[in-house]
């Protein structure tokens, strides 16, 4: 699926080759779609990764590449003597407890005053029929109290999420799929996106984080999909700053040469819903640090 050909003649050859390839692909039969069964999916997902990486303990899945590569883990343990997310964590704690102009705080918007609840996000809101991520809940809180919404990808949003994740460390993901066909449709939409190849490089999320999990992609070790969201938000050395799950989805799509959706697009929210549900039982480790 590569089409960056410099000359017109070579381009014509490439188009012909592409057409022949497409004819071959079209002959590949697709499996018949089945009725979604999230819990069966989760158990199969977990069993797959446990079989691939038998030495990884349940509490370690949230540490991504460091759980499956000894060399990376050694570097990470050295880095964690001075965690690069510490400044963001401090900023997030300060902002979380700041009083809005109306005298309220973020704590007034969340169950349990917002402490130790990150593992319950995203959730399906049966009133609106939409998946609500932690980022959306934070911005809803701000707007309801007269504040401007924050950028969903980085900055103060990532800092607040870092603080909230920190208060949930060790608590296992506990994502619910209510008995509502819209919730199941959202789950299925996220599942389909996760496994669908896209972009000029023809990669799906699963290409890297299932099939090639634990292997190298240039200098990086690809994290297993199980527990992959437990460490967010993360300080990513490549970014030189903190980023949310939505930022990572965006950058993953760009890496496969696909035009990314807007942060908190329905598809990204559904993807987060699916992936978080797959990690039910995996403890939160965020905020995290990645190369």
């Amino acid at each position: 699926m590569h089409l960056l050909i410099p000359s017109a003649r070579l381009r014509q050859v490439a188009l012909l080759a592409g057409a022949l390839g497409a004819m071959a692909l079209a002959r590949m039969p697709a499996r018949a779609a089945t009725t979604p069964n999230p819990e069966a999916d989760r158990l199969a997902f977990r069993a797959y990764f446990k079989q691939r990486f038998p030495a990884v303990k349940n509490g370690d899945w949230g540490n991504g590449p460091y759980a499956v590569n000894a060399g990376m883990r050694q570097q990470w343990e050295a880095i964690m003597q001075f965690p690069p997310y510490d400044f963001a964590l401090g900023d997030g704690e300060k902002e979380f407890h700041r009083r809005f102009a109306d005298g309220k705080t973020y704590a007034d918007c969340f169950p349990d005053k917002g402490i130790g609840i990150r593992q319950n996000y995203p959730y399906f809101d049966t009133k609106t029929g939409k998946v609500i991520t932690l980022g959306i809940a934070i911005n809803r809180c701000r707007v309801a109290n007269g504040e401007k919404p924050l950028n969903y990808q980085k900055g103060l949003m990532a800092s607040i999420e870092a603080y909230m994740a920190h208060t949930s460390r060790g608590k296992p993901f506990d994502i619910k799929i209510p008995n509502d066909p819209r919730a199941l449709a959202a789950y299925e939409d996220g599942r389909k996106f996760f496994y669908s190849r896209r972009g000029q490089l023809n990669f799906s999320c699963a290409s890297c984080h299932v099939q090639a999990a634990g292997q190298r992609l240039r200098g990086d070790i690809l994290a297993p999909a199980l527990g992959i969201l437990a460490a967010f938000p993360i300080y990513r050395s490549d970014w030189g700053s903190m980023g949310t799950i939505q930022r990572r989805f965006t950058s993953c799509n760009v890496q496969v040469r696909s035009v990314p959706f807007k942060p908190q697009d329905k598809t990204y929210r559904d993807l987060e819903y699916f992936l978080s549900y797959m990690s039910n039982g995996v403890p939160i480790t965020g905020p995290g640090a990645r190369p």
Binding site: L3, A32, R198
Partner: protein, 97 residues
Amino acid sequence: MLAACVAAMLAPGLARAATKTEAQAALAAARKAEAAAGAVRNRWLPAEAALKQAAQALAAGQYDGSVAVSERARALANRSIQQAKEQDGLWQNEVIR
């Protein structure tokens, strides 16, 4: 058969400079294809970049170059549409079961 097709494609064509109208038509066709890729929510970054490049070449009066890049953008857009249609069923093959 394949060799004959490739040989035919490699045969030199008539050299004629593209006109502004042809460049505009090629760009419009590429934009239409990219809009169709957007409709199936599967646009590719190189197609977007090629569209931008084609528009710049057109504005600069480089009609041959604009037509060539527009054709590339349209080919990329068509492949992205094809990919989306194929993946609509093929994604099931990658599911962990």
